[in-house]
Amino acid sequence: MFSVGSMLCLERRMLGLVGFIGGDLHATFGRLLRCPVRSSAVQKTSGSTHHPQRVWLSSQVPLCGHHTPKHRTGLYGPFTLGSSRGLLSLPLFTQRVTLSQGPNTSTAKIRLRTRLVVTLLFGGGLLGTWWYVRNEKRQNHRMQRIEQLKKVALGQGDFSLLDHRGHRRTKRDFLGSWVLLYFGFTHCPDICPEELDKVSAVVSSLDKDRSLPAVQPLFVTVDPERDNVAALERYVKDFHPRLIGLTGTPEEVKVAGKDYRVYASPGPKDEDGDYIVDHTILIYLVNPDGLFLDYYNRMKDDVQIAESVRNHMKSYVKL
């Protein structure tokens, strides 16, 4: 009876191996698991009085590939997590016993398990290396870009403007916080409201993360003729509560615009005296040191901008 049982088991394991070669791991493990225990082997090895139950289990494993997550394999056979050191020798002994009884099946299974482990480790190692290298490359790219933007050295000068409450503000007032700066005008048909909505969304989403410093959104007008303090006050309240509008005399505004190389050109006036100002559509990111770090055009949505700002904040802390 015993031999019949072992024959069935052997056939099952062979099928399992075929399954592995054929790429069907599920069939492999399924077949390997469904093997009956060889009671004779168990009787020979259950010498330890320490954990009789565990001994039985550990000797069971080399026979049947009983794969619980704890039974991670190695060349020396599986062992239960809770077992004492003394039991480590037991599976080896068990293997020797089983080897004498059925060389093909055990060695084949051992080789299979070893192969699997080795493949997994190797694959894991490869993946880990690839991941690490990719992150290093990305970090390098970011650093390079920051260096390039520093060379361009936008926003090095100082500006002195009036905010939408009539208080004078200079660039120094904003040192110590991250700034998202946008140049526009209140009579803008669609672009400026869209961009300011985007900035508001970015700031709101960054606000949700308590670990990040608060971002200060700024709106500087390129149309000082019409955008006085009152006009700005009316305008900014439609957007993020922290948004500060900045204006001044045409000279002051020109200085601020030039600092960021902002192009602005008022169009022809119509009979109402209304006109559209053609201008650069960019959102600038300035770090707490007042250094221009990055810019975002119309193609970037609020999620991408928020992600970029987060990355800049993280690398700023590191440096």
Binding site: P189, D190, P193, R234, D238, D270, D272, D274, Y275
Partner: protein, 81 residues
């Protein structure tokens, strides 16, 4: 003349979208969309009407270029030297 506030902006964009929908439906036949045109002009400042009209022309042009293709303009002719 003060700038339109958020509500006025949204109203203007609404009428603009209605007009553009009508024009799309009628293959840019302006005559069939006169009602929307009037609404649009009433709710938006004149400069914005001009701006959005030009914008639509540009978008249609862009679409045409993208779907029908175009012949690249000939470069500067070589001068006889």
């Amino acid at each position: 003349m003060s700038a339109p506030d958020s509500k006025q902006r949204k109203a203007c964009w609404g009428t603009r979208d209605e007009l553009w929908k009508c024009l799309d439906y009628n293959q840019d036949n302006a005559a069939s969309c006169e009602k929307f045109q009037k609404e649009f002009e009433a709710s938006c400042p004149a400069q914005w009407v001009k701006y959005f009209t030009k914008r639509r022309d540009f978008l249609k042009y862009k679409e045409k270029m993208q779907t029908e293709g175009f012949e690249p303009a000939a470069g500067p002719k070589e001068s006889q030297s």
